[in-house]
């Protein structure tokens, strides 16, 4: 089999250019979708009959929460590819994911807390889903912490890749164990996140927002990847060309 495409894909200057070309193709649709969804969600959608306008925070909260898990999956896959095939670009992708993932996770937590205050009268409850989300944030932070603690780039790449992979094994176990933990204590389940049969004019903006967030993630990832590639290759001839 011819592997040249694989190596070409892995070559930093090529990735740098490709990412540059692709960015607008994701950024613009993302922007349009998010604006449209905001309009749909904040203006067109009717207020909830129970929660009034407060429910509208869902348009940020739910997509951030969904994205956070997805970003972790992307990050861990990229790290695994980097570790197995020794592809530096894959490590760069993983490194670029971490910050975005942590931000999405934090956003879902913060919006959730903001929502929880009016809904449950408290900022925080020890619900399994919330705890699992918090642990995900810690995993992201640990990954970032480990990377920043190691000077040598190659070592940082590989060590953090091992951590990301170990996290993948453990995430479902954590999720499961926390559900088990809480199910015993019969908390009055204030929070009902089981998808309610939502009216279409509420649901459509939500789905648009999800797609918009996904495209937004890809666009941010590409931008960060370019920066990351430049940082790693500083000193290389092609970088000097690009920068000057």
């Amino acid at each position: 089999m011819d592997w040249t495409w694989f190596h070409k894909f892995g070559s930093p200057p090529h990735v740098y250019r490709l990412a540059g070309t692709l960015t607008p193709w994701f950024a613009w649709p993302a922007g349009i979708l998010i604006i449209a969804a905001l309009y749909g969600g904040l203006v067109l959608a009717p207020p909830d009959y129970q929660q009034g306008d407060g429910f509208r925070i869902i348009y940020v909260h739910a997509p951030s929460a969904w994205l956070s898990t997805m970003v972790y999956a992307v990050m861990a896959s990229a790290a695994a590819v980097g570790l197995i095939w020794r592809m530096k670009v894959a490590h760069a992708v993983a490194a670029s994911c971490a910050g975005v993932g942590a931000s999405f996770t934090a956003a879902s937590l913060v919006t959730g807390m903001l929502w929880g205050e009016p809904m449950w009268g408290t900022w925080w409850v020890w619900d399994p889903r919330l705890v699992a989300q918090l642990v995900l944030l810690f995993l992201f932070l640990g990954y970032i912490g480990l990377r920043s603690a190691i000077d040598d780039l190659g070592r940082a790449d590989r060590a953090s890749a091992v951590l990301a992979i170990v996290g993948v094994v453990n995430l479902p176990i954590i999720r499961y164990s926390v559900e088990w933990w809480n199910s015993i204590h019969q908390t009055p389940s204030v929070m009902k996140m089981d998808r309610p049969s939502m009216p279409m004019d509420m649901l459509a903006p939500l789905l648009m927002m999800l797609l918009g967030f996904t495209l937004f993630f890809v666009a941010v990832l590409l931008v960060r990847l370019r920066a990351e590639v430049l940082r790693r290759e500083r000193g290389a001839a092609w970088v000097k060309e690009v920068v000057s």
Binding site: L83, V135, F138, L139, L141, G142, G145, L146, A149, I150, D152, G154, R155, R158, A159, V162, L163, I165, V166, G167, V169, N170, I173, I174, Y176, S177, V178, W180, W181, I184
Partner: protein, 222 residues
């Protein structure tokens, strides 16, 4: 291979016995945390009994973690880790041996000490078998998961705190099932469901963790 692993195990045990202070440290820590906790709370045994599972497990988790910090660090500093890496032996087996030594020196004594502390927290004697078996199983997983963290943070400044940050989230399942088993044991109900889960986690850890440790050690030695 087995000879080499046993040599590593024997060496680590011997080293620990040369410095008894180091062996006692996690134990003392376990005891102090468990005893301190009621001081900040209440002297009523009825209430203490309720928090006993959480206190015992968090204390065990932290004590185990505290001592893991130096698991590979000392070997890395005096150069014997390189000797181990280059021994021409499967690294995962040697890593498992080192972790086993750690468990014998920390997990096992912690487990044996737990009943004494349990009594101070008002735990009935009938609960001891459940507590002993849950801690014995749980500390195995803790040692192994912690070893992965210790190998990853090798050569990192202020590694102790980073180690905690990396490892503690991964130990959530052990903590939850362990505390649950303890709770059931105290309530007089059979803890076997939670114990099975703990055993499953331990088996998973024994199979996978040594591989991750070996990979991390190779990376760390570069």
């Amino acid at each position: 291979m087995i000879g080499a692993a046993l040599a590593v195990l024997a060496r680590d045990l011997r080293l620990a016995l040369r410095r008894p202070g180091q062996v006692l440290q996690p134990l003392a820590f376990f005891a102090v945390v468990t005893v301190l906790f009621p001081l900040g709370y209440t002297p009523e045994l009825d209430k203490l009994r309720q928090i006993a599972p959480g206190v015992l497990w968090v204390a065990a988790l932290l004590a185990s973690l505290l001592s893991l910090e130096s698991l590979f660090r000392e070997d890395a500093q005096d150069g014997t880790l390189e000797q181990i890496l280059l021994a021409g032996q499967p690294l995962a087996a040697l890593a498992l041996a080192k972790t086993a030594a750690h468990w014998l020196l920390t997990g096992l004594p912690l487990t044996l000490m737990a009943p004494m502390l349990g009594i101070a927290l008002g735990v009935p004697a009938s609960a001891m078998p459940g507590i002993l078996s849950s801690l014995a199983l749980g500390t195995v997983t803790l040692s192994l998961v912690g070893a992965v963290g210790a190998a990853l943070t090798l050569g990192v400044r202020r590694g102790g705190v980073l180690l905690g940050l990396l490892t503690l989230p991964l130990t959530v399942p052990t903590l939850v099932f362990g505390a649950r088993a303890t709770e059931l044991a105290i309530a007089g109900e059979g803890p076997s469901g939670a114990l099975y889960l703990l055993a499953a986690l331990a088996v998973l850890a024994v199979t996978l963790a040594p591989l991750a440790v070996a990979a991390a050690l190779r990376i760390g030695s570069e």
